[in-house]
């Protein structure tokens, strides 16, 4: 059942770390089925924004609506409906990818059959029983992607999902979490051209404030690169 509510609607979102503002007055809207790419230099607030949207960080100011739920008061309604992929794979190193997925499937109340399908989708079936600690960076990222999409999230939050991956891994993961997957996504990126091609809407953050917000096709890579100047 398609819901009329947008995937994400922010009005005046603010979040501080101590007394230092990390995000300030962020207002935007993301429709279901579309993708927003978030640009900005390190420390601009990209990761903080993703964690707020995931319900992991409480917003200090403003209205935050994710998948029709008001955060933080209705945070429980968002849980289990968002998939988060960060620099930290959120996997137990001593356990194998399959064991990790089994654990998450149980937490999310999903049937075990999804595990094999997901492992196949990210191309990890062959190494699914080795401890995560013994896997290469590319394989760990595949396992992390499998973890993030296992419960079929309605909103996918990706923090530089394809950074430092070899072409084989990129080719494998692109159909799963890329634009062609048809998912509603918020993706952070440092690659202006690639990021714009992958998105419908582009957001530029600088010092925690919105410096750029436009439709992706209206923007040039050069305009995005100015953010980093």
């Amino acid at each position: 059942m398609p819901s009329p509510a947008p995937a994400v609607a922010l009005r005046g979102l603010g979040r501080r770390y101590g007394e230092r503002p990390v995000l300030h007055d962020v207002t935007l809207r993301l429709e279901r089925g579309s993708t927003m790419v978030v640009f900005g230099p390190n420390g601009a607030g990209k990761t903080t924004l993703l964690r707020v949207l995931a319900g992991l960080l409480r917003p200090h100011e403003g209205d935050v609506e994710v998948l029709g739920a008001q955060l933080p008061d209705e945070g429980w309604r968002v849980r289990g409906r968002v998939g988060l992929l960060t620099h930290d794979p959120l996997l137990y190193r001593e356990l194998s990818p399959r064991e990790n997925l089994r654990f998450h499937a149980r937490l999310h109340g999903r049937e075990a059959a999804r595990i094999e399908a997901t492992l196949d989708a990210v191309g990890l079936a062959a190494r699914a029983d080795d401890p995560v600690a013994e896997l290469s960076r590319g394989l760990v990222q595949r396992a992390a992607v499998a973890r993030a999409i296992l419960h079929e999230p309605e909103l996918l939050l990706l923090d530089e999902p394809l950074a430092n991956l070899d072409p084989a891994a990129t080719a494998r993961l692109q159909p799963v979490i890329g634009r062609e997957s048809g998912r509603t996504r918020v993706v952070t990126s440092h690659d202006p051209a690639g990021g714009l091609a992958d998105a419908d809407v582009a957001l530029g953050l600088r010092g925690g404030r919105v410096a750029l917000l436009a439709r992706a096709e209206e923007l040039s890579a050069a305009r995005v690169a100015e953010l980093y100047a």
Binding site: W76, G80, L84, L91, R93, E94, R106, L107, H108, R147
Partner: protein, 224 residues
């Protein structure tokens, strides 16, 4: 809730089975402590309240090792985030961790209590065993509840290794006191005396009170 607790507990036991980080270290530490007590007290055998004291101080210190590490995987390997993203109650983590700690303590005591009986204890332990078991269960529940709460409190501090023990020792004094008082007559030289009921009552009250408090405040430690 029960589903989430079972998933978390299975995961914790599986990780411990793989890494063998906590339980073997705790058991080894307990046995070493008995040896240290042998030399520190210069006694070949102990009985009565000294025996009870040695046993419970050793159990307390061994527990500190496990409590210190209880949330390390969650903090360092993203377990907190993975858990918080899932549609389950926060309390499930408290219950699962306390149960995991309880299992660890039980395994450690399965090794440490016989070792204590062989190495240090003067009187025969067998006739006192059922009563001792009751005290062990009541005290372990208290240690597990407070241990989980303090571990969660200390895990995101800069000085976890220091904060956890200095918080834990004063908080567990009533448990050690009541457990030692309840155990002392069991280790009497003249043969095991009856189990003093009021000390069991103190342990039970402690378990219930701190169980409720941990339940009430634990969620706030997970928030960001």
């Amino acid at each position: 809730m029960r589903r989430a607790i079972a998933a978390l507990l299975r995961k914790d036991l599986l990780v411990e089975l793989r890494t063998k980080e906590a339980v073997p270290a705790m058991a080894l530490f307990a046995i070493s402590t008995f040896v240290v007590f042998h030399f520190g007290l210069d006694r070949d055998t102990v009985e009565g309240d000294v025996a009870a004291g040695v046993l419970w101080v050793t159990m307390l210190f061994a527990a500190v090792l496990g409590i210190n590490r209880l949330f390390v995987a969650e903090a360092e390997q993203g377990g907190f985030d993975g858990f918080l993203l899932a549609p389950v109650e926060r309390t499930a983590l408290l219950v699962a961790k306390a149960l995991a700690l309880l299992v660890f303590l039980a395994i450690v005591q399965l090794v440490a209590v016989p070792a204590f009986a062989i190495l240090l204890l003067g009187p025969d332990v067998f006739q006192a065993l059922p009563a001792l078991l009751v005290v062990l269960v009541l005290a372990d529940v208290g240690i597990a509840v407070i241990g989980t709460l303090v571990s969660a409190l200390g895990i995101r501090t800069r000085a976890r290794d220091l904060i956890v023990p200095i918080l834990l020792l004063p908080l567990l004094i009533p448990v050690v006191l009541a457990a030692a008082q309840a155990t002392a007559p069991l280790f009497a030289q003249a043969g095991a005396g009856p189990l003093p009921g009021r000390w069991l009552a103190i342990l039970a009250i402690y378990d219930v009170v701190f169980g409720l408090i941990a339940y009430a405040v634990f969620d706030f430690l997970l928030e960001d």
